[in-house]
Structures are given as C-alpha cells and as structure tokens.
Amino acid sequence: MNEVSQSESKLAEWRERAIAFEQEIQKAVVGQDRVIRLVTIGVFARGHIMIEGDVGVGKTTLLRAVSRAMGGDFVRIEGTVDMMPGDILYHTYLGDDGRPRVDPSELLRLAETLPVFFFNEINRARPQVHSLLLRLMAERSVTAFNRLYRFPYLQVFADRNIVEREETFELPAAARDRFFMEISMAAPTDREARRKLVFDPVFQDVDTLLERVTPGTMDYREIGGVARRIQESVKASTTLESYVLNLWQGLTRPASVGISLPDVDVSMLVKGGASPRGLATLARAARVRAWLEGRDYMTPDDVKDVFFEVMAHRIFVDPIHTLRGDEPVRQLCHAVFEATPVP
C-alpha cells in the first residue's frame, strides 16, 4: 500500500470517528443536528467557535458535551463583569500558613494537554479579558510568571448571551474575526425533541445527561494532524475557485452583480470585512465539510453550507442597520448565492 492510499484510508477511518463523535453529542443534545455538524467542522478545522443564542437553549450543555466527547482536559471560565486577565492566569489563595500565595491557574497548569477552553458568557467579560483571549486564540500561547505557556491542542469554545445588554461588553470586530465560526443556536423546532426537553427527566439534570456521552471518542492530540491532512487531500477545482471569487465580489460589491435588497441601499450596505483571511477560512471549513460528506473534492454546496456561520460575523455593515441584528447580512448572503451562477 502506498503512502497516498494509506493516508486516504486513515482519513476514512477518522471520518467514521467524526461521525461517531457527532452521535455521542446527539445523545445529550437533541434537535440540534446542524449545530453539532458545524461544531464538528470547527473541531476538524482547528478553529475557535463562538455559539450565541437565547437563554436556556442548551449552549453550555452542547459545549460541555463536545469537551467530554473530545477527551482530554477541560477548563471552563464564567465571564463576569469584574473579571480581569489575571483571574484567568493566576490562582490566588491563602496558604496553610496564612500567607498569600499565587500559583498558575488551572488553564496554565493544563496548558500542554488542554484541548478545550470553554469561556461561558464571553460578553460579560471586560475588553481587557477579550484582549487576553485574542492573544490566546491567535497564538495559542500566553505569558505568565515570566515565561511563555504554549497550548498546542487548544481550541476555544465560547458562548454569548445575546438577550441581555446590561453589564455586557460586545466583542470588537478583530476579536470576532479570530473566531472560526459564529454559530447561532435556537430551541429545536422538532416537536418530539421539544417534548423530550420539557418532560423527559434525563434532560433536567445536565451532569447526568453528560454521562451519556462516551468520553474520548477521538484522541485530541491527533486532530491537528488529521486537520492538516484534510486540507491537503480535499481538492478545489478551478470552477469552484472561480465560484468562491464570484461570491466574494458579490459580498463586497453587491450592486455590481445586480443584487438588490428591500429597504436597503446595497451600494452603501457593506462597510468592511469579507477579508482574504475570511475567504481562506471559508475554504478551510468547506474542505472539512466535503470530507465529512465523504468526498475528496469541494462543491458549491459545501461552501454554501458553512458560509453564513463562517462569513457573517466578518461582514461589517453600515451602523444604520445595526439595530436590525444580523438580518441584513443574512439577506445579503442569501442574495449573493442566488445571484451567483454555478457551474
């Protein structure tokens, strides 16, 4: 067996594990198959993931289930308004002798083996904390105790409460851009899933629920290598490359491809974003999606499936549309796909 077919066989084996990973999470989180698929794509693209949604829809449960299924250590931090960067890096306490002590926090102690750093309600933390997080996400390292701590396997999962505005600090555009995906999570629409969530006692106790998830479905230390192999093995044809470039033009200059939206002046809509880094991230996510679908080539469907979650938070619209939330961007993305022919 040559090297190429060995690699293909290993990728096929890992695809089965990825499907099993999804099934494990589905044991704890019902009616959220699409969100789980997007999280899996994020995991195998080695991207940091933000989940936002209403209160009580299962964001935290989902991320805890993901952490458990991935195996390895797990650090969770609750964002609060008075939190400072030092609270994340240092553990301060009074020793047995009554003297103050400063030790590395759990995050630093587990740095070498930590695959999941779960930041709950990130928008409750101050911009100073966001700044630390930005460094951690971009470089997978922080400096503390006068030395550099590296996090070779780290993926940041964060959730954001979009309901409350009091004592919250919105993430700056640069911080949002560091997130590979922003996934919106709503309550399931399936009636049976809703019935289970309301009346099945299993879903009342999160700890018991998470015990249903088999820990360590995958070896997190291998995910980085698998992710690289996926990016190398899934091909993009010239037709697909041309399609993505056309989508890009549609996003940045919607009027030039004949896009019009009701009550919106499209020539003034997009003020920034949709950067080359964003498009490269889109291609990365689409490759993983193609791999999960069992293909070694990307299709426009792969691009479309991940487009909104990867690109929407990277498109910055005129502030006049801010109060309409993500609706103008959603409309724009939809219109761009409708206006861009393929193949």
């Binding site: 091909k235 044809s237 037709t239 697909l240 293909r295 080539y297 990307m298 299709t299 426009p300 469907d301 479309k304 499936d305 796909f337 409708e338 206006a339 861009t340 022919p341 393929v342 193949p343």
Partner: protein, 293 residues
Amino acid sequence: MRVGLLTILSLLWAFPAKADDARVNIHSARPFGYFVGDLIRARVEVTTSADATLVAASLPHPGPLSISLDIKAVEIHATMIGAEKRWDLDLVYQNFYVALDARNIEIPGFELRFGDETVPIPAWSVGVAPLREIAPAKQERPEDYLRPDSPAVFASETQPERLAITFGALSILVLGAVGRDRAWPPFQSRRERIFNALARELATKAHGGANAFPDAIQSLHRTIDRANGGALLGEDVCKFLARRPEFASLQPSFDRFYAASRSEFFSEDKADNYGFKELLDFARALARQERAQ
C-alpha cells in the same frame, strides 16, 4: 393559313440598322393592324462589345413623342452573349392617330450613347387602320341608340362570409394558443416554457464539439436557475421540488444530473455513465412536465 403565316412572320419581323461597331435589330409584335388607342410593343436589340456601357440619359423618356404618338414605358436589360453584350430595349408606344384609311405611320428614331460612341436607332413604321363603321337601324329618338346596361351580376356573399367568419375565429383561436404558449398578455401569469426552448437548443447542440457536453450542462443549470428564481445548488433540489411539485416525479433525474455536473466541474474523476443523450432526455422530460401545467 395565310393569316397564321403572316402572324408568325410579323412576330419575327425585324430589320437590322447599321452602325460602326454595334448591330441594331428592331422587333415588333406586328407591323400593321393598329387602331386608335392600341399599344405598340417593340424590342430594340443592340449588340455591342462586352465592355460597352450604356449612358442611361440617352434612353428615350416616357411621354408624348408627337401629337398622335406617346411612349408609355421603357425597360432595358443587358445580357452577355459570348464576347459581346446585347442590350434589349423594350418600348411600349401608344397610337392616337385616328386613321380614316389604312396607312403607315412613322415611329421616330433616336440615338443611344455607349460611352463616347453614339448608336443611331433608325425610324420605323407601322400600319394603322380606321375603326369599322356600324349601321344601326334608324331610331326616332337619339337615346334609343343606347343599349341597356348589362344587368348587375348577383354574387352570393353567404359562403365568403361564412369562410371569413370561420377563418377569423380559427385565427383568433390559434393566436390565443400561441399567446398562451408564449405567456403573452393576458396569459402573462402563466410561466414561460423555458424548458421547451432549452430542449430545442440542446437538440441542436447534441452533435457539437468536445465542449458541447459541459456547455449543455451549464445551459440546463441556468434554465433550472431561472425556474427557481436564483441559483439552485444540488442540495437545495428538494426545496425546489417542494415549491414546484410538477417536477417532483423527476427527482431521480435531478439527482443524477447534479451528480454528473459535480463530477464534470468539481471532481477529478469524470462521470462516464452520464452522456448527452440522458441530459437531452432529462431536458425533454422537464419540458413535458412544464407543458402539462
């Protein structure tokens, strides 16, 4: 017998007119037997060298030639005869000479110019004759000489009317059918038959070159996009079929087409089990479903 021979001779009657390097022949239908008001038709044939060019201004102009002779029409045609060119000048004269006895009148000659050369067309003559007298019985009142008008011919309009109404109604029906087919007003709410047009277009492309198949796939994609109201990707076909249930029975064909399109445009392994014939059959099936609506 004599009259017939004379007629044939008169048809062929012609005489040559001399010129330096051009030959002129004049033919007339007959050389005699013209009454007042008759048209006198003549053909003047001028044979020149091949490079000769007729000066159009030298042709006779329609209008009165004399007090009793008009020229009504002049036509010229040129024909190559070997190394020479023959100019056929067809002339129509009208005779207004009221002859009291049979006599000849002269048709005046004229000159044609071919570049610097002038070719004279000689005068010729035709015989004119008086109208025959009549001798009706003597009547007391002048109006009695008048003959009663011919009775009006009665033409029944029933059948033409019926035919006109029938064909008018048929025309309106056909126009309505065409308008419905093409979604002209007031049928604009009816969907345009885009798949029908596509099937015809693909049938003409079937024997094209190497790019015919990818081009045909793209044409079908664009037509499906039009039917969808925007670009339709393979994984959205189910949503499209839910909106357009008339095509739902073709879902397996949709799936095969999109799989073939993926292989053709996005994969390195081209599908070899999907060809132009199946594509054309799919387009025709779409057209049939469209027509059934």
